[in-house]
């Protein structure tokens, strides 16, 4: 096992730079998730760690060794691809044994290692089958088995669950996490799904447009986002944003969000009055209260555990998630009060408070 260190890593395709100097440190045994919208460079970054893309600038080190010029097979890594990339003409056993066969491992040793991996993943019964005869989840397991048998320093996952249906995705998520807790192999996992990131990661790297927006533990990112992008990306349903100006609200603070609505800010903020800000409120931080600001209910979606209320607040669409059951009808008036708010600079998106 080894750490993975990226320093000032850049990638250009022709004259277009798609990764602009990225620094990430993944510690030994850590499960690190790269998350961001599609096209943010996360997959490119992973492929650079794997050696499938050349590095245009900067350094990538696995353990102590800088691997910039090292061929993929010399890097001692294993990768799980989005479409699994199983060899269709090989049985499950041969798929898993392929790398060992190429490495000149003895027949007996190969059999032991493949069987061990098959046992971990519950694939013992399927070793003689071909990939076509397996379900999506089983193929996914074979792809992981192929990675496991090699006992590599680092596992790389490139959106491995995006081809599975929703239910299986949740199950496999848990399985991958359990596997990591068992093997403790350093892992770098790419996904666009922030829930996957939140549930699986020791460390999340949020990326956007070829840059790292923030690195931190899942709850750190949730509780303390560095900027508006991270705040909007992490958390589901996404954070509500309202533009306005800082104002006084009796003894406390508020943001005038237009239409004469003053959204009260629960925390003391050292921001001059009249400054333009974007106020962010997570849906789950709204409560229905008589002293809240008025809003108009548009759609109500009860999910059982809680209720999502989509409404118009000062002309802006906002979402609130409340635990108690209200019998709101579309068009009804509701009073919402934020219990926790974030303030961002409208131009740069950086967090003010």
């Amino acid at each position: 096992m080894a750490s993975v260190t990226l320093s000032a890593v850049r990638k250009s395709f022709g004259s277009t730079e798609v990764v602009h100097g990225v620094d990430i440190g993944v510690e030994d045994g850590e499960f690190c998730v790269l998350v961001g919208p599609s096209g943010c460079g996360k997959s490119t970054l992973l492929r650079m760690i794997a050696g499938l893309e050349e590095i245009s600038g900067g350094r990538i080190a696995i353990g102590e060794r800088v691997v910039n010029g090292v061929a993929p097979k010399e890097r001692d890594i294993a990768m799980v691809f989005q479409n699994y990339a199983l060899y269709p003409h090989m049985s499950v056993y041969d798929n898993m044994a392929f790398s060992l066969m190429l490495a000149g491992e003895s027949r007996e040793q190969t059999r032991l290692r493949v069987e061990e991996a098959a046992l971990i993943l519950g694939l013992e019964e399927y070793l003689r089958r071909y990939p076509r005869q397996l379900s999506g989840g089983q193929r996914q397991r074979v792809a992981m088995g192929r990675a496991i048998v090699r006992k590599p320093q680092v596992f790389l996952f490139d959106e491995p669950l995006s081809n599975l249906d929703a239910k299986l995705r949740v199950a496999m998520r848990t399985e991958i996490k359990a596997l990591h807790q068992r093997l403790r192999t350093t892992s770098v996992y790419v996904t666009h799904d922030q829930i996957e990131a939140m549930t699986m990661a020791d460390k999340i790297v949020v990326m956007n447009a070829g840059r790292v927006e923030q690195i931190g533990a899942p709850l750190e990112l949730y509780d303390d986002p560095a900027n508006q992008f991270v705040a909007g990306f992490i958390g589901s349903p996404a954070m509500n944003f309202l533009a306005g100006r800082m104002a006084r609200n009796g003894a406390g603070f508020a943001v005038a969000v237009g239409g004469g609505v003053h959204l009260p800010i629960p925390v003391r903020a050292e921001i001059p009055e009249g400054r333009e800000v974007v106020v962010g409120v997570r849906p789950e931080h709204f409560v229905v209260a008589d002293d809240g600001v008025p809003a108009e209910v548009v759609v109500v979606e009860p999910t059982g555990a809680d209720t999502q209320i989509f409404c118009k607040l000062a002309g802006v669409d906002v979402t609130a998630v409340v635990r108690e059951r209200h019998a709101f009808r579309p068009g009804a008036a509701v009073r919402l009060k934020p219990q926790l708010t974030f303030l961002f600079d409208p131009a740069s998106g950086t967090r003010l408070a």
């Binding site: 794997a50 050696g51 499938l52 061929a71 993929p72 097979k73 890594i77 294993a78 990768m79 691809f81 479409n83 990339a85 199983l86 060899y87 269709p88 003409h89 090989m90 392929f98 790398s99 190429l102 490495a103 089958r129 071909y130 990939p131 076509r132 005869q133 192929r146 090699r150």
Partner: protein, 299 residues
């Protein structure tokens, strides 16, 4: 009319009729006639009488027929092997990211598009004993002293006709294999690279096995085309010198039409059928059906 048109089966039969008629007139009838003639002593201008397997028996004792069988097998085996090797190599080259990719692929198809008789005439010139451009070039380069008699000596003629056949047949093999190569997902090569495969191992363990179904089909067709080749030989050598390049097809034509022995020619043509059938069965059972392609279901 109405009840007829409303009947699914009758309507289906009606739609099948044109195709069935074409097959019957242009395929079944000539084939049946050829088979029938093979068992008769028909000559041009005289309907034959049934003589059983006399024609076939005499073919066994006929040294020229046996030579033509050897020539045909030699021609087919060598040409097919070379076509496969060159075609695969060309397909692998064309599968890379080359500048002017579409243009290069179009160029490769040219020999296939030119009518055979036309390209045969071109080769006739290239192989001419006095005016050969190849000989001229080699002499100018100082590699040889005298012009090569490409079509004048038995073995030289065999290899020359094979070369012309290969030139004509490679594009078909190359383009079909290229189509096959493009169906192989690039991530498989990435996975193989991470699994530690060298370029050769990627070819050996990923490209080749995934290409076998297409190789089987392409090479079956290639073997059939080559085994039954007629035009090229007939234009270039007419079977000569000393019958060294007579294939079964050319000899059968020679005997039946200019020679007038329709029965004997037909019997010789029919004698090709078992070899062709064997080639088809070999590729069908030996190469084409693999468990991994069939997919689905438990086994």
């Amino acid at each position: 009319m109405r009840p007829f048109l409303d009947n699914r089966n009758a309507l289906g039969l009606a739609f099948m009729l044109p195709a069935a008629a074409l097959l019957l007139v242009f395929l079944t009838y000539p084939l049946g006639l050829g088979l029938w003639l093979g068992f008769t002593d028909a000559r041009i201008g005289r309907p034959g009488h049934w003589i059983g397997i006399d024609n076939f028996e005499s073919l066994f004792g006929d040294s020229l027929a046996r030579l033509s069988l050897f020539n045909t097998l030699f021609y087919t085996v060598i040409a097919s092997v070379v076509k496969f090797a060159l075609g695969l190599w060309l397909a692998l080259l064309l599968n890379r990211h080359l500048p002017f990719k579409a243009f290069l692929r179009a160029i490769v198809l040219l020999p296939f598009i030119v009518p055979t008789a036309l390209s045969a005439i071109a080769f006739w010139w290239i192989y001419d004993a006095q005016f050969s451009v190849v000989s001229w070039l080699l002499v100018k380069m100082g590699l040889i002293d005298t012009y090569i008699d490409f079509l004048g000596e038995p073995w030289m003629a065999r290899f020359s006709t094979i070369a012309a056949n290969v030139w004509r047949g490679v594009p078909f093999v190359a383009i079909c294999l290229l189509a096959g190569l493009q169906t192989i997902s690039p991530t498989l090569y990435e996975a193989a690279a991470l699994d530690g495969a060298t370029e050769w191992q990627k070819f050996r363990h990923v490209t080749l096995p995934m290409l076998t179904p297409i190789i089987a089909v392409v090479m079956t067709f290639s073997v059939l085309f080559t085994f039954t080749d007629f035009q090229l030989i007939y234009v270039l050598t007419r079977g000569g010198p000393l019958n060294a390049t007579h294939l079964m097809a050319t000899l059968s034509f020679q005997r039946a039409i200019p020679g007038g022995n329709l029965g004997e020619g037909a019997a010789l043509a029919m004698a090709m059928a078992p070899f062709l059938l064997a080639a088809i069965l070999f590729s069908y059972f030996g190469l084409q059906r693999r468990a991994w392609q069939q997919g689905g279901g438990d086994k």
